[in-house]
Amino acid sequence: MMDRRDFIKLTGLSLALVLTEGGFKIIKAVQEETINPVLWANITKDNHLVLLINKSEMGQGVWTGLAMLVADELDFPWERVRVRSAPAGPQYIDRKLGMQLTGGSTSVRNMYDFLRQLGATMREMLINYASEEWKVPREKLKAQGGYVFGNGKKASYGELWEGAVKLPIPHKVKLKDPSEFIYIGKNIPRIDAREKVDGSAIFGIDVRLKDVVYAVVERPPAFGCKLKGFDPSRAKQVEGVIDVFAISTGVAVCGKDFYSAQKGRESLKVEWTESPIKDFNDQELARYYLNALNRAGAVARHDGNPEDVISKAKVKVESVYLLPYLYHATMEPMSCVADVRKDKCVVYAPIQSQTWALKTVSRITGLDEKDIEIHTTYLGGGFGRKANVEFVREAVEISKKLGRPVKLIYTREDDVKSGWYRPMNATKFVGALDEKGRVIAIHHKIAVPAVFEWAGMPSQIDRAAVEGIENMPYSVPNLHVEFVKIDLPIPVWFWRSVGSSHNAFTLETFIDRLAKAGGRDPVELRLELLSKNPRARRVVEVCAEKSGWGRGSYRGRAMGLAYHFSFGSHVAQCAEVSLDKKTGKIRVHKVVCVIDLGPTVVHPDLVVSQMESAIVMGLSASLKERVSFSKGGPQSLNFDTYPLLTMEETPEVEVHIVKGQGPMGGVGEPGLPPIAPAVANALLWGYGIEVNQLPMTPDYIKTLI
């Protein structure tokens, strides 16, 4: 949350920087001696509200959700609202995250109060100014639909704005009562839909600068390799190739267009040092991770006496899981335009983390952050991947060396080879039941790389490694959670829902195995374990009810349910599944999804689309995806070997929103974790199959039948 002083500065200064309607270019807020201006909003003369939003639009609909907050309090016509992305700078930091970053499903939660206050303050300023100008008492004036009127006078906000910003900023503004909302809670049109339908939306890869040089980077075939040497002579002879040189991650080939650069690269000879993991293929990785479970790790949680209880229990269940590296597969591969000059640098990039980009560019160029302009374009998918700014660094390195503006484009293969995967992991669960089938102990251990450490935030217990397990909402009297850190030179990163993307799978399938061993219904067992958590119980109950749980075999299909709490939201999903035992092929027919993200739902349809999105992505991962390795490098380099779910394979998705009490939860990620275990649980109950590995490809499933 910004404090009052910052808030005043920001509105007071917006006049100095008039943003016009239309055009992609953003005018950067200028630094001044006495004040540190922050530009968030402006109303143009022709009555358009132009907002600079500090969150990256990567499909989640955040520009729509955030703009609604301002427009609602301001009482401004939606079709006249325009959003531009805020440049990178300390002014635009999300105070709750401590940086300018879009991640962790936090955007609406973190910006909600601030942006409503922004809108309300602007409205108040307009009324104050009209009152003074027209000599009409404030109480007689109304600001509505983009106009101030009263006492026979009427003017648009745009006509008044220039005068309004010259008056003192009101200190106390009243926010609307929810009953007065005109947009919040309603399904208004996405603000980015039209541009994304007519082809004019500008993504990172679409930015066109004059005299730009196109660059591709040849990368090592395996992780941990260093550049040994290269012969650029043949590449340089290729028509259109401008230069070939080494950068920190490989060899850059620059050309007059993408195709020449690519052709140059094909004629390039590069030698790499041996990979320290050159013997790692899929089998070796599996062995390595499973072995790591024999090592002692760091204890994240220890309640009661799980070892003892388990050793004495009559009914014990044990499972060992192995989950793969996953690739983000943003449909737009990494791409960045950089123009490094002696005293200045301009970057256009599809990034989630402006603060990290700014620091990186400053480090590479030696320039002061104030001399660096970073503009965020639309992101053709993010899912966490584009919070990693190595690709920005590469573009900046290349432009610096070349002394010209550069557009770096990753091919799909480059994108996979660059790494930054969702970590692979091995997990062992042991659980114990009493004679009534109640869960009395759970012992958990996971071997997994430390994502936060790779992101420069090391800690003894990596937050991602045990998230969703260490803080599970289930009441288990004897509980042990342990983390064994895997250190391999395979870069890992945040992948939509992060640790929950794997931990929900292991925990939620294990709960069903416990239920089965104890002769219990898995929904009933969950409700028992959730007795202290009414919000969690409710989503499970509603999901069971809406999906027809317990009403016998549904249309002859198997059903599985899973629940997970992540990013502040509770989500339960029930999947209707059938299996062709001959081919091993799984078909997911329908998914019923219930989410509780708290009492305020800014845009219900955006919540629905995020649930659809997360279910499709989670299903894609669990049925089809795995980065396969050979000789220490990835083998699944494009969509032929790293296939994604298609429309044919997509189930019908039904979403229900329930409004529980408590703080607002996130939306972008929490819909993903439950889908994989829901499907696996259906296989357990319907076909007696225990899925211990992902993806559930026909080949793997056949081995279980």
Binding site: V197, D198, G199, F203, D257, M331, V616, F639, M647
Partner: protein, 152 residues
């Protein structure tokens, strides 16, 4: 010099004839609505029309379209039912795959306005969307059919 017609306009480009059409359109003509996704004809992000046929421009060399008519996302009228339905149903998420999806859907309905649900699903399954907008794409095409007054 190679001549091509894009969205009804004649362009003359002097480029190696094996240059993929995708990059000609994006970098030389300057129409960036057509996207690069895989470069191998798998994802569909680069789909354009060659005459009436949807093709993958990333694997189509310039020489194959000499003197031919190409339609890109920018060439489909804004008020076409497909585009209108897309906006109405808030289909795009990140939006990156959408031009390809829209061009494919447009071609499908042009060829076969009465395409059944199964045909639509089969055709559209050649396009990848990482944001998982499939349910909405399907609804939007059905909606476009009803806007066009088609009874299926």
């Amino acid at each position: 010099m190679t001549e091509i017609y894009i969205n009804g306009k004649l362009y003359k480009v002097s480029l190696p004839e094996d240059t993929p059409l995708l990059w000609v359109i994006r970098e030389h003509i300057g129409l960036t609505g057509t996207k690069f996704g895989c470069g191998k004809g798998i994802c569909g992000a680069c789909t354009v029309l060659l005459e009436e046929e949807p093709i993958r421009s990333c694997i189509t060399p310039l020489k194959a379209v000499k003197g031919k008519r190409i339609t890109t996302i920018e060439g489909i009228p804004a008020n076409h039912p497909v585009k209108r339905a897309w906006v109405e149903l808030n289909v795009p998420q990140c939006g990156y795959c959408q031009p390809g999806q829209i061009v494919e859907a447009y071609a499908l309905l042009k060829k076969n306005p009465r395409a059944s649900r199964e045909e639509i699903v089969r055709t559209m399954s050649s396009h990848l969307c990482r944001c998982g907008t499939y349910p909405r794409i399907l609804r939007a095409i059905l909606r476009a059919q009803s806007m066009m007054g088609v009874k299926t």
